[in-house]
């Protein structure tokens, strides 16, 4: 099947329009056009909801799109790279704040993705075997994921309160670990509050995906390894993790991208003005665009972010795809 399609390259542009093929023999159309036909709905939707708005966003980044122009932004003056200059002028406050926010976001993202993945994978591997209560636990673990973001985060706000919160109650009143109550929602600890909240809400997703991925590992592999005398840990290292690689490759990448761009958690946790220690870039961009009504600068920041993430993703894919099926186009 695959070889036949290779023989006859498709003409026309690669956006997947099957139209140019219509003059050919029906059988061939079906064979050659089929993959494009299958992609067509996905492509149209992506174009409408993601790509075109993304390009509009990029266009916006070259305009001076402040409150004076948003009503009719055709008339907004072009600023060339003006918005970008403001964003990357790291000596000036806007650029400096953006850079700071960038580093906070990178640190937060690495920690959060690492923890989510580690907890999710560990839990999935531990729960591979059947034991009493496994089904219940599985459902339970999905609860944080099933809760609406607003509700989940507001509950953590509630628990992180200085005087009345559970966290200080336990740490200070009951375990006496801290000699005085700590602030979690303001000041430097806010970073950890954000991380804990995000991991709590995010790890079940990694758990879910890895759990599904584990089901695809043929039992024979384990049996063979067991016959070779491989212990539990070795089985995990030699079979489980390598077999999970394709799943993990995508999982870690999207966790990274989502965490990097996550807006809801910091926004509900801290409101419009996040503490410096937890000033994630998405809230920063929200402030620049929606709070201070400068959509041009906000878009420029987003485009810079996009470029950074593109580079990271590119490097990541090159490194993780080595030996996988990459050369096949």
């Amino acid at each position: 099947m695959t070889t036949t399609t290779l023989k006859e390259p498709v003409r026309g542009d690669s956006t997947g329009a099957a139209a140019p093929e219509q003059r050919r023999r029906p059988g061939r159309i079906r064979r050659i056009g089929l993959p494009y036909l299958l992609l067509l709905p996905a492509l149209l939707l992506e174009l409408l909801v993601h790509l075109v708005p993304m390009v509009i966003g990029i266009v916006m980044s070259f305009k001076e799109l402040t409150q004076f122009y948003i009503r009719d932004w055709g008339t907004a003056p072009w600023t060339g790279f003006g918005n970008y200059k403001v964003s990357v002028d790291f000596d000036a406050p806007v650029g400096k704040a953006l850079l700071h926010s960038f580093f906070v976001t990178v640190g937060f993202t690495l920690l959060s993705v690492g923890l989510c993945w580690l907890i999710g994978t560990t839990a999935a591997i531990y729960m591979q075997d059947n034991f009493r209560g496994r089904g219940l636990l599985r459902a339970l673990f999905l609860v944080p994921y099933a809760l609406p973001v607003y509700a989940a985060v507001i509950t953590w706000v509630f628990m992180f309160q200085h005087d009345n919160g559970l966290v200080n109650h336990v740490l200070h009143d009951q375990l006496h670990i801290t000699d005085k109550r700590s602030f979690w929602l303001i000041g430097d600890n806010s970073f950890w509050a954000l991380l804990i909240t995000h991991v709590w809400k995010g790890w079940p997703f990694a758990f879910l995906i890895v759990m599904a991925g584990l089901q695809n590992i043929p039992k024979e592999l384990y049996e063979a390894a067991a016959l070779d005398g491989a212990g539990m840990l070795q089985q995990i290292r030699r079979i489980t993790l390598p077999s999970l690689r394709p799943v993990n490759q995508v999982l870690v990448l999207v966790l990274f991208l989502w965490t990097f761009n996550d807006f809801n958690t910091p926004y509900v946790l801290f409101g419009k003005a996040a503490p410096e220690a937890a000033d994630l870039i998405s809230v920063h961009i929200y402030q620049a665009s929606f709070v201070t009504w400068n959509f041009g600068t906000g878009s420029a920041m987003s485009v810079l972010l996009l470029l950074f993430l593109l580079v990271v993703t590119g490097v990541y894919l090159v490194f993780t795809s080595r030996g996988r099926r990459t050369g096949d186009v």
């Binding site: 542009d13 075109v52 390009v55 409150q67 009719d72 706000v157 602030f183 419009k272 201070t292 009504w293």
Partner: protein
């Protein structure tokens, strides 16, 4: 080959986007039409205890309007969390309501977008004239020298709410009239194991409302007369420091309040943990938290010395809601009629009673309903000693930048770090640099 294809994809996408851009941006045509004279869409802000209650309050009035004019008003109560974003997207796309409520501090910013119908003399004439409204409320409807972008609908003012029992217990006979008295009373209250005063230290808007008043009391403004930010003016720095010092130095606001942003200080007050609260129209709120009106008293917000008045004797911002007409409306006559209806004396009485606010319309304000003890304080404040927040196009940026600075200063105070004139100045300087340069 691959890159050519990628370029082709890019080109297609780009052209699509440009097409979208070209027709995007909403209609640029001027002010409204009368294409659908029989219906109106109205976005109300959430004024009551819940959206459901708002609907219950407003719907009968809208029915009344329909009976009078034959125009059906489609009501949507938009939660505060969404209102500004909804207005922004409506502005950009031209697809919005006909009539809408806006927070009065947004007036100048929204005015700058040109999305709202300007209330010139002719338009005001259609709703009975500008002089029907109270001056202080009109001061918060747009930049000075321009036609207002909206008309006042509900007015509110800050007042000092105090717990009668705690005051009696601490031997305080009358509410403090100056900050010095408040600090002295605070010591007595603390001796009884209660916290003196509450604040929402992490709430950007609340912070702005308070430091604005303190700045007034120091004879300073955050903006120069020609609208430039002037945050590092020594008087402004002193004013901000005085507010933060209520926690940092005078210790009348507990450090715990530095993280409050969800009205926890109101709960503390309602539960009798805290003796005083600076709030606007807290009555309904306190009631829902189980505090009955006879348990607390209402007094004007303290001043530096003397009695509240204008200028340095200012003791509240003009808080409130304005009613605006969206320029792209397709029922401009109906929209104007609706504004007239909502600001009529009769409706003003009904609505402001329901929301425990003060009517910005003179004819309604004099009604006996608004002469109760609590309303008298608010009315008096609005009439004599309240000032409008700066009516500049950058108001929204100002709130974010300075409000955040104050939040960070509170966080410093809570963490036990010193709050000095220099540290306050540094934060305000940073805030000022974040303001648009034009």
């Amino acid at each position: 080959m691959r890159s050519i294809r990628a370029a082709a994809v890019g080109a297609v996408t780009m052209s699509l986007a440009l097409a979208a851009t070209a027709c995007g941006g909403g209609s640029s045509s001027g002010g409204g039409s009368n294409d659908s004279p029989k219906t109106l869409t109205y976005w109300a802000s959430n004024q009551g205890a819940s959206i459901a209650i708002d609907k219950k309050v407003l719907q009968p009035e809208l029915d009344k309007f329909q009976k009078q004019t034959g125009i059906k008003v489609k009501l949507e109560v938009v939660p505060w969390s969404d209102l500004l974003n909804r207005i922004l997207t409506a502005t950009t796309s031209g697809q919005g309501p006909d009539v809408l409520n806006i927070g009065n501090t947004w007036s100048a910013s929204l005015q700058a977008t040109g999305a709202l119908l300007p209330w010139d003399a002719k338009n005001f004439g259609k709703i009975g004239g500008k002089d029907r409204f109270v001056d202080s409320a009109l001061g918060s409807t747009g930049a000075e020298g321009k036609d207002p972008a909206a008309v006042p609908l509900y007015s509110m003012a800050y007042a000092l709410y105090y717990n009668k029992a705690i005051f009696a217990d601490a031997g305080i006979s009358k509410p403090p009239a100056t900050w010095a008295e408040l600090i002295a009373d605070g010591k007595k209250i603390k001796a009884k194991g209660k916290s003196p005063l509450g604040a929402e230290g992490a709430n950007v808007s609340e912070n702005i409302h308070h430091v604005f008043v303190f700045a007034k009391q120091h004879g300073a403004d955050f903006f120069t007369a020609d609208g430039k930010p002037d945050f590092t003016n020594p008087k402004v720095v002193d004013a901000v420091k005085q507010y933060v010092d209520l926690m940092a130095k005078d210790k009348v606001i507990p450090t715990n309040d530095a993280e409050y942003a969800q009205n926890q200080s109101v709960s503390d007050f309602a539960k009798g943990k805290q003796a005083m609260l600076l709030w606007q129209s807290a009555a309904a709120n306190l009631k829902s938290q189980g505090m009955s009106p006879d348990k607390y008293g209402i007094a004007p917000v303290p001043v530096q010395s003397g009695t509240p008045g204008t200028g340095a004797q200012t003791n509240s911002m003009v808080a409130g809601i304005n009613l605006a007409v969206f320029k792209n409306t397709d029922n401009i006559d109906g929209a104007t009629k609706f504004v007239k209806f909502m600001t009529s004396d009769a409706e003003q009485k009904v609505l402001n009673t329901a929301y425990s606010s003060i009517p910005p319309v003179k004819g309604a304000q004099s009604d006996a309903t608004f002469n109760s003890a609590s309303n008298a304080v608010l009315k008096q404040t609005l009439a004599t000693s309240a000032a409008a927040l700066p009516q500049v196009a950058d108001e929204s940026q100002f709130e974010t930048a300075v409000g955040t600075a104050v939040k960070e200063l509170f966080a410093d105070a809570a963490a036990g770090r010193a709050v000095t004139t220099d540290s306050v100045k540094a934060k305000l300087e940073k805030a000022q640099q974040q303001m648009p340069t034009k």
